[in-house]
């Protein structure tokens, strides 16, 4: 256990304390107690800064060494970048939530416990070096996201959004798990560093493509890429601090992290480049296109997040071209710039989108609505919020002097480079990218001007508009300052964090100690990128001005054939199918279930007896059959026959217990006192149980049963009898292994017990016994609840 492990586990350790603090110290907002956790972790990760540019620190704690699963953590620059975003945003979001979440009305203990679980899980995702551990934390983030989306579980929409997010991300996560298994099979290890070192073996392996596709499915679902993005807009039912944190700044970036992390292992091929770039660009365009028509500010931000995630994803795809074999040095430099741009835009997006979400949260909190149609003219009333929105939105639109301008320019460079490399088949990459940026510009303008400019509509608001308390303005203000700082001092950030992180995406491209990407400059001369930005501004303003004129486009989108409808349809179809399937064999009659079980047994046991040619009766070693043994056997047969023809339940029960008691006689004959004793008592108890149940059953009736039913029963019973007779006869004919009873004969020395049977039960196979009594007890509780529950239902109609 190293400090780095402890850092991941700290949020989990803090979890159980939170509810006590909430219950005991109601006077204080629970958020104040939670705040130190992300803050201390943030400062701790800052301490790792000097390490980032050097060899990464790896610490391993063995977990399941036999399967190659170790809790290995690795802090290189890429992980550190994410860890800083997670803890830094975490600190601001917790601070913000103290003012956003009412301490009187909300279940704060649940809120912060889920939030801490997420914080720890997310740190685990970005710091783990072992794929299995990464997967574990990955799914934990899905679950905490589920709980946080459904935080206001009284609302049906929250529950639906949570379930949708969970289904889609778990589907992806499980595919990713399969992909990981294939990767480990191909590369021979679960360790990411090892896999990257063995990239050659992985690429040559037959499982390379399926592993890649399955793994990407996980990344795309988590990062809300087309066509899996549909869960993200619905996830906006979560409280706004959560939307700002999980669903824009951190969790949805996990997919990007995974792609970036595994680029050295998978990148360089055509498939990787085309899939990721195409999905990214399509997501970028579609998200921005749909964002324009949203009337709910939060939904608009959700679609904008989808779109921006697509942008970063496509940059990662383009960056992977740098690893393609036979590339000229200038080209490689361009693609290295794309990797740098991806990291740069990632941190930019976290900062400006986090800020924008917080401002929308303020509007919602202070005005009671997020509907653009009700908002307007708030510039004078909420000047600080307005300024913050302008900074965030203009950065997102890619305008100077904000950080987004720099990364957006570099994004255009990247798309043009991809076009230059792949020529005309890739012409749509810069084209769609430009179009998407145009739409991005338009919705950014909507976000700023429809909300804050124009006419005041106080009549439509729930509360009189006023500026938010200082506490809520501080976190977005800090983020906005960062947005501006990133523009003016990009090289300081680049040297210490971004460039080393980009080097982790494309290792081996730059010599150690040398930067991958030289200098971030604000002015490149009259480049095509500048022309693209200028075009966006000009056309964007035109389009914003004539918004009502062209927004009729959206009415022509199909209403019936949407992705959401497809998702709903497939869920309903699955439900229908499983209901049909279950109804087909679950008849409600115990006798049917009995016959399923018995027929299955006949087929498997009898089938293997035939298929393996295992029927070899060998009676040579047997002892002579004594007359009394024969007599008992005849009695058993007689009582069994009597059982079959008896007309009353009572006589049936007596006949059945007679069979059991006679069998226990055999145990006596063959000197197995423990078995005999157990059999006797079990018979006694089960007879008593039978009699008890018998009291409740309706009388046995003479009912005409169809001949086919009787024949089936006959066939099944004869089959069971036959199979077991044959098995019994052939048991002695086989001796595949040495008998293990020799070992147990040493019970005296090994377990200090003279009774071998008991020594086996409590000592040699004690673990089995323990789990058996757990199962037994669980079954008993099950019977108890079934009976009690049924009674309660009857008494309380």
């Amino acid at each position: 256990m190293t400090p780095l492990h402890l850092a991941i586990l700290t949020p989990f350790l803090a979890m159980p304390v939170v509810p006590f603090l909430y219950k005991r110290l109601r006077r204080f907002h629970t958020g104040w107690f939670v705040l130190p956790v992300p803050l201390v972790l943030f400062l701790y990760f800052l301490r790792y800064f000097p390490l980032a540019s050097e060899e990464p620190a790896v610490f391993t704690v063995p977990w399941i060494p036999r399967l190659g699963i170790d809790f290995a953590v690795c802090a290189d620059a890429l992980s550190l970048l994410f860890a800083l975003i997670i803890t830094g945003m975490g600190t601001l979001v917790v601070f913000y939530s103290i003012f956003y979440m009412s301490k009187e009305r909300e279940a704060l203990h649940n809120f912060y416990v889920y939030l801490l679980a997420f914080l720890g899980a997310m740190l685990g995702v970005v710091l783990s070096d072992n794929l299995m551990v990464l997967y574990l934390f990955w799914e934990l983030t899905s679950f905490s996201s589920f709980l946080l989306i459904a935080f206001w579980f009284q609302r049906a929409k929250s529950r639906q959004g949570a379930v949708k997010a969970l289904i889609i991300t778990l589907f992806g996560g499980f595919s990713m798990f399969l992909g990981f298994l294939m990767v480990a099979e191909a590369a021979g290890s679960f360790s990411i560093r090892h896999i990257i070192a063995n990239a050659g073996a992985l690429k040559a392996h037959g499982l390379f493509l399926p592993a890649m596709l399955l793994m990407l499915l996980g990344a795309f679902t988590k990062s809300a890429q087309f066509p899996f993005y549909i869960w993200l807009p619905d996830a906006m039912e979560a409280p706004t601090p959560i939307s700002a944190y999980l669903h824009s700044a951190t969790m949805v970036k996990a997919g990007l992290y995974l792609v970036a992390r595994l680029t050295p292992a998978f990148g360089g091929g055509d498939a990787w480049f085309w899939i990721i770039t195409a999905v990214g660009i399509v997501t970028l365009f579609w998200g921005s296109f749909l964002a324009v028509r949203q009337i709910d500010l939060k939904a608009m931000l959700a679609f904008s997040t989808v779109s921006q995630l697509g942008l970063i994803m496509s940059l990662l795809g383009i960056a992977s071209l740098a690893l393609a074999p036979g590339l000229s040095e200038t080209r490689a430099e361009w693609f290295a710039a794309a990797a740098f741009a991806a990291v740069f835009h990632l941190i930019n997006h976290s900062v400006f989108k986090g800020s924008l979400f917080m401002v929308v949260g303020i509007l919602d909190h202070e005005l009671g609505t997020r509907d653009i149609r009700k908002l307007g003219g708030l510039m004078g009333v909420m000047p600080v919020s307005f300024t913050l929105t302008v900074i965030g939105a203009f950065s997102m639109a890619g305008l100077p002097p904000f950080g987004g301008f720099l990364s957006k320019e570099m994004f255009f460079t990247g798309t043009l480079a991809a076009f230059g490399e792949r020529s005309w088949p890739a012409v749509w990459i810069p084209a769609l990218a430009w179009l998407a940026s145009l739409f991005t510009f338009v919705y950014c303008m909507i976000l700023v001007f429809k909300t804050f400019a124009g006419q005041k509509r106080p009549g439509l608001l729930d509360k009189p508009p006023r500026e938010a308390p200082v506490g809520m303005l501080v976190p977005p203000a800090i983020l906005s300052v960062l947005v501006i700082l990133f523009f003016f001092m990009p090289n300081a950030l680049s040297r210490h964090l971004l460039d080393p992180a980009a080097k982790n995406i494309l290792p081996g491209l730059a010599a150690p100690g040398e930067p991958l990407f030289g200098h971030v400059s604000h002015w490149h001369g009259l480049s095509p990128e500048l022309a693209m930005t200028a075009g966006i501004v000009v056309f964007g303003i035109l389009m914003y001005r004539h918004l009502p004129g062209w927004s009729a486009v959206y009415d022509h989108l199909p209403r019936k054939w949407t992705l959401n409808a497809a998702f709903e349809k497939s869920l309903l179809g699955l439900e229908w199918l499983s209901r049909r399937l279950t109804a087909g064999y679950m008849t409600g009659y115990l006798r049917h279930y009995m016959s399923y079980i018995l027929v299955f047994m006949i087929l498997v046991v009898g089938g293997s007896l035939v298929a393996l040619d295992a029927f070899r009766p060998d009676l040579s070693g047997g002892a002579a059959v004594e007359a009394y043994e024969l007599a008992v056997a005849l009695c058993i047969v007689a009582s069994t026959l009597f059982l079959a023809i008896s007309k009353s339940r009572l006589t049936s029960i007596i006949a059945l217990s007679a069979v059991g008691l006679l069998v226990s006689l055999y145990y006596v004959f063959f000197r197995a006192p423990d078995l005999a004793l157990t059999q006797l008592v079990v018979e006694t108890i089960s007879t008593a149980l039978f009699l008890l149940c018998f009291y409740f059953l309706p009388k046995l009736r003479q009912v005409e049963v169809p001949r086919s039913f009787r024949l089936t029963n006959l066939a099944v019973s004869v089959g069971v009898g036959l199979v077991f007779t044959l098995v019994g006869l052939s048991v002695t004919g086989h001796r595949l292994f040495e008998p293990i009873s020799r070992y147990y004969e040493n019970a005296r020395e090994l377990a200090g017990a003279n009774n071998i049977v008991n020594a086996i039960l409590v000592d040699f196979r004690g673990f089995d016994t323990m789990l058996e009594i757990v199962v037994l007890f669980t079954a008993g509780i099950g019977v108890f609840t079934l009976i009690r529950f049924r009674n309660r239902r009857r008494h309380e109609p």
Partner: protein, 184 residues
């Protein structure tokens, strides 16, 4: 409607015309009700059987003593926690047969679910304690001790585990039996 006391179902005594006009479901409901009525006649809520009472009062103690004996004898002789638990359960069942359930609950004022849970807990803890001390899960130890009254005694943690099994089996069996028998 005639009181059905024989084994014949109502649908036959009711006459052919009844079958024609009644749906199958309503016949079933009537039959169930008839079965309820007949049961009440056959078995009164509280019945006294002096022989059973007297015999069971003696027998239960014998059974219990034997159960405890085979629980601890199991280490070296036939027996053990599982059988011991079941034998104890038969003793309780005898009580349930001889007396009504309210009386039995006065005699044994224990909640059988707790007994079962405690048993499982004991069994798990006997496994967990050595695990906490760094040994493999469920490592058993044996020792000899000289106790007053008992003399030289062979002690084994395996017996403690068996006590857990005993309680779990007893608790589960009695939970099921008592619940079915007390069910209305």
């Amino acid at each position: 409607m005639s009181e059905p006391t024989d084994q014949k179902p109502l649908s036959r005594t009711g006459g052919a015309w009844l079958r024609k006009f009644r749906s199958l479901a309503s016949i079933r409901a009537a039959e169930d009700k008839a079965a309820d009525d007949s049961r009440r006649i056959r078995l009164p809520d509280k019945f006294n059987d002096v022989y059973l009472h007297t015999a069971s009062q003696v027998l239960v103690f014998l059974i219990m003593t034997y159960a405890i004996y085979i629980l601890f004898a199991g280490h070296n002789n036939p027996g053990g926690g599982f059988v011991g638990g079941l034998v104890t359960a038969t003793g309780f069942v005898l009580l349930y047969l001889a007396f009504d359930s309210r009386t039995v609950r006065q005699i044994i004022p224990a909640n059988f679910r707790y007994i079962g849970a405690i048993g499982v807990l004991i069994a798990v803890l006997t496994g967990a304690v050595p695990a906490l001390a760094g040994e493999p899960f469920l490592t058993h130890r044996t020792a000899h001790a000289h106790l007053p009254l008992f003399g030289n005694v062979h002690l084994a943690t395996a017996v403690l585990f068996d006590v857990g099994v005993f309680l779990a089996v007893l608790g589960t069996a009695m939970t099921i039996i008592s619940n079915i028998s007390e069910d209305e």
